[in-house]
């Protein structure tokens, strides 16, 4: 966990964070400058955004300083495959809800993909567990709590 890269020049992660902070500052500042409506009395809706902009700029610059000094803590190597599985499951979830596929299928995918990412090798079994879990939750919400979770063709069969 020592920071050897720090000695070889700039620490990349710290530089990236610094740049991102400056971009955020620019966005906040720009957005505030575009506001047309102000308050009649006291300070308007732009005052705090400008203060935040200043804060973000200072923090961004501080990250540049850090980049050339000790850098950010060196992370351990990540298991990208595992990350991709989970991210894939969540991406499917969003797409499924957005396109009207319904809650149950989306949940089945999230459950199975996450379990796969965490190292289980029984995708189909997990998908079935997820499906049953999703359907159970959907029905409890719909019947007991009268809250309708996003519904697709499958869910409509039960309503």
């Amino acid at each position: 966990m020592t920071n050897e890269t720090g000695r070889q020049g700039a620490n990349r992660p710290a530089l990236i964070v610094g740049v991102l902070l400056l971009i955020a500052a620019a966005l906040v500042g720009y957005d505030a400058s575009q506001q047309t409506i102000t308050s009649n009395y006291g300070v308007g809706p732009t005052a705090v955004p400008y203060v935040v902009t200043a804060g973000l700029v200072i923090l961004g610059l501080a990250h540049f300083v850090v980049a050339f000094r000790e850098g950010l803590p060196e992370p351990e190597e990540a298991d990208n495959k595992a990350l991709l599985w989970i991210a894939g499951g969540l991406a499917f979830l969003i797409a499924c809800i957005a396109l009207g596929g319904g809650f149950t299928i989306a949940i089945a995918a999230v459950f199975a993909c996450t379990a796969r990412g965490m190292g289980r090798q029984a995708f189909l079994v997990d998908a079935i567990i997820g499906f049953v879990l999703g359907l159970f939750i959907y029905l409890v919400f719909a019947k007991v709590l009268t809250l309708i979770l996003p519904s697709g063709p499958l869910e409509r069969l039960f309503l």
Binding site: T36, I37, N40, Y41, T146, L147, I148, L159
Partner: protein
């Protein structure tokens, strides 16, 4: 669909009371959208409708869905997207008219099929009990002298309370652009600001201030309805005090665009039947809502007039550019 409508019209005359559900079934299913999170005012209206419609056996199955966001305009956009769907209603109200303008929403209320106005609540203008202001006239004088020194406490920017304050300033000939209106999150906080004597006047729905008014901690300068309120007969209306202004915070239901005349009629009749049901009247009483049922062409015209009035005042106050 059509036969069931015919059946229903034939039966409407018979009786509202003791008929079986089956005989009444014109709409088997109805979806009511509350364009707000569960627990809010519109959600409460939607769920009360669900309760009344199913309990009175007017519609067999009623589903309430919540579509949150952007003062209800996201739900509105969804409703407009469901063109031609004759089994859907959305709850909305006066606040949505302002929200559409404020949020520069790409959709608006002229695009939907108006069904009916359900409830309405009068607004009140109040001052702390120890305030030197005794009548709406006193407030008007103060406002004309220096609008900055008159601080108003009320609900969200562009909401009913804000619009009433602006309309009041206009009606009495003060500069509506210069009003010092302070939005608080929820009536509770505004009420606390009033009781603490932090602000000159407060605006809110009558119900929200009722307890304090009855306890003598707040004094009503005026109510915004056309007539005096039943439960507050001592509070004068604005009109009585020579200020030509009337405003009600109403709630209504609207349906998707592109409905046939039959579909519209079916929905309107369903809502009308609900409004007349014992169950709905009980809910109104329990929740302290005032029945202000208005449907058909009269409601269409009312809605148009309200949209016009709100857009005018919001532009004049500088909330919308």
């Amino acid at each position: 669909m059509l036969t069931s409508i015919l059946k229903r019209t034939a039966l409407t005359a018979v009786a509202l009371a003791a008929l079986s559900t089956a005989a009444f079934a014109q709409l088997n299913e109805l979806k009511i959208m509350a364009p707000a999170a569960p627990g809010g005012g519109w959600d409460g209206t939607a769920r009360s409708m669900q309760q009344a419609l199913t309990a009175a056996g007017i519609v067999k199955s009623v589903q309430v869905t919540n579509v949150t966001g952007a003062g209800g305009t996201i739900g509105l956009a969804q409703l407009i997207g469901a063109k031609g769907a004759g089994d859907q209603l959305m709850v909305n109200g006066f606040v949505m008219v302002g929200a559409i303008l404020l949020n520069k929403s790409p959709v608006n209320l002229t695009q939907v099929t108006p069904i009916a106005r359900l409830t309405a609540e009068a607004e009140v203008i109040v001052v702390p009990a120890d305030s030197p202001l005794k009548t709406a006239k006193d407030l008007a004088e103060r406002l004309k002298a220096d609008p900055a020194k008159v601080t108003w406490a009320g609900g969200s920017a562009g909401g009913t309370d804000h619009i009433l304050a602006a309309l009041f300033a206009q009606a009495v000939g003060a500069d509506a652009k210069k009003i010092n209106y302070i939005p608080f999150s929820g009536g509770g906080e505004a009420l606390a600001a009033m009781l603490g004597g932090r602000v000159t006047a407060g605006v809110s729905g009558y119900g929200e201030f009722e307890g304090q008014i009855k306890a003598g901690k707040l004094r009503v300068l005026a109510v915004s309805s056309g007539k005096r309120l039943e439960n507050a007969p001592d509070a004068p209306t604005l009109k009585e005090q020579g200020i030509d202004l009337e405003l009600l915070n109403w709630r209504s239901v609207v349906a998707p665009p592109g409905l046939t005349a039959d579909q519209t009629k079916a929905l309107t009749d369903t809502v009308e039947k609900m409004v007349k049901s014992k169950e709905w009247q009980e809910i109104l009483k329990a929740r302290g809502w005032d029945d202000s049922f208005l449907a058909g062409a009269a409601f269409d015209a009312f809605l148009k007039a309200e949209i016009e009035r709100v857009s005018k005042v919001m532009t004049e106050v500088g909330l919308v550019k």
